[in-house]
Symmetry: C2
Subunit: 165 residues, 2 copies
């Protein structure tokens, strides 16, 4: 076997090794992206009339007669928040990602962390949104939706929002 042949074989082996490493890296990158990826797709932009900033809503379970339970995934970009509003039957919020703010009328702002559960009683005015620097995603559950879903009220002013800082 000539030296040039040995070099060629060694080149092939190196190429195979590099290819193997790259494939394995690509696999672990795909797995990492998948693990990091949001659970639900973002959905549609929420109406500017009821929100400040960019907010995405994906309906997971619409209002229907079998379950009477509206479930949605809501993603607030940094600084974005809902208007003040209330729900005739209350609302359950499951924070799935990020950092946000939650406030009921007349009470201090509470910080929303991944894994927190907030329950807002019927007819209580409140708002929720992202923090100024981090997005926030929550699942929203409105039970007994045959009695109504939401009553939308005034915008949350910058002054009200900045009390969270």
């Amino acid at each position: 076997m000539r030296i040039s042949q040995v070099i060629k074989m060694s080149d092939w082996l190196t190429a195979l090794l590099v290819l193997g490493t790259l494939t394995s890296q690509a696999q672990s990158t795909r797995e990492a992206i998948r693990a990091h990826s949001p659970i639900f797709s973002k959905g549609e932009k929420a109406p500017a009339s009821n929100f400040t900033g960019t907010v995405w809503v994906r309906t997971l379970v619409p209002d229907e007669t079998t379950y009477h339970c509206v479930v949605g995934n809501v993603t607030f970009e940094p600084g974005a928040r809902s208007n003040w509003h209330s729900h005739p039957t209350g609302q359950i919020l499951l924070v799935t990602d990020g950092l946000g703010y939650y406030q009921e009328k007349g009470k201090p702002i509470q910080i929303m962390h991944k894994g927190d559960v907030f329950k807002c009683p019927p007819d209580i005015e409140h708002w929720h949104g992202a923090s100024p620097t981090s997005p926030m995603t929550h699942v929203s559950i409105i039970p007994n939706s045959e009695k109504g879903i939401a009553v939308w009220l005034k915008k949350v002013t910058d002054q009200e929002y900045n009390n969270g800082n």
Copy 2:
């Protein structure tokens, strides 16, 4: 300045650089762990009478008169599954992680992926669980829980379960 002093300074600079790198690595490791960490803590082991294998249940919203909506986080270890069961008012499942199986009586097994939503109508016999090789986590929502939560039935046999392969 003597050469030994220069070397000492260089050692200090190197040490600072290494420390900085390690600190930054530790921070990004912490962030990665946080991003990867489950949304909710696992909770308590589910009763062996209603489940096969290791299943964890964390109650997020108990049965109460304000919302009449029971919400729980359920984690199935690989191979684990519920018994056959039904709910008087149906059940909504939000798959938040892993890979699992869902089956309604008389229908083929469906694969549960992260981001899928399953709605099981009232009084329909069904079961859900992890795949044989991957865990699966879902949020369970039982609306109108004043009418009852669950009716537990027979174990899912290995034969029934292995039809998912």
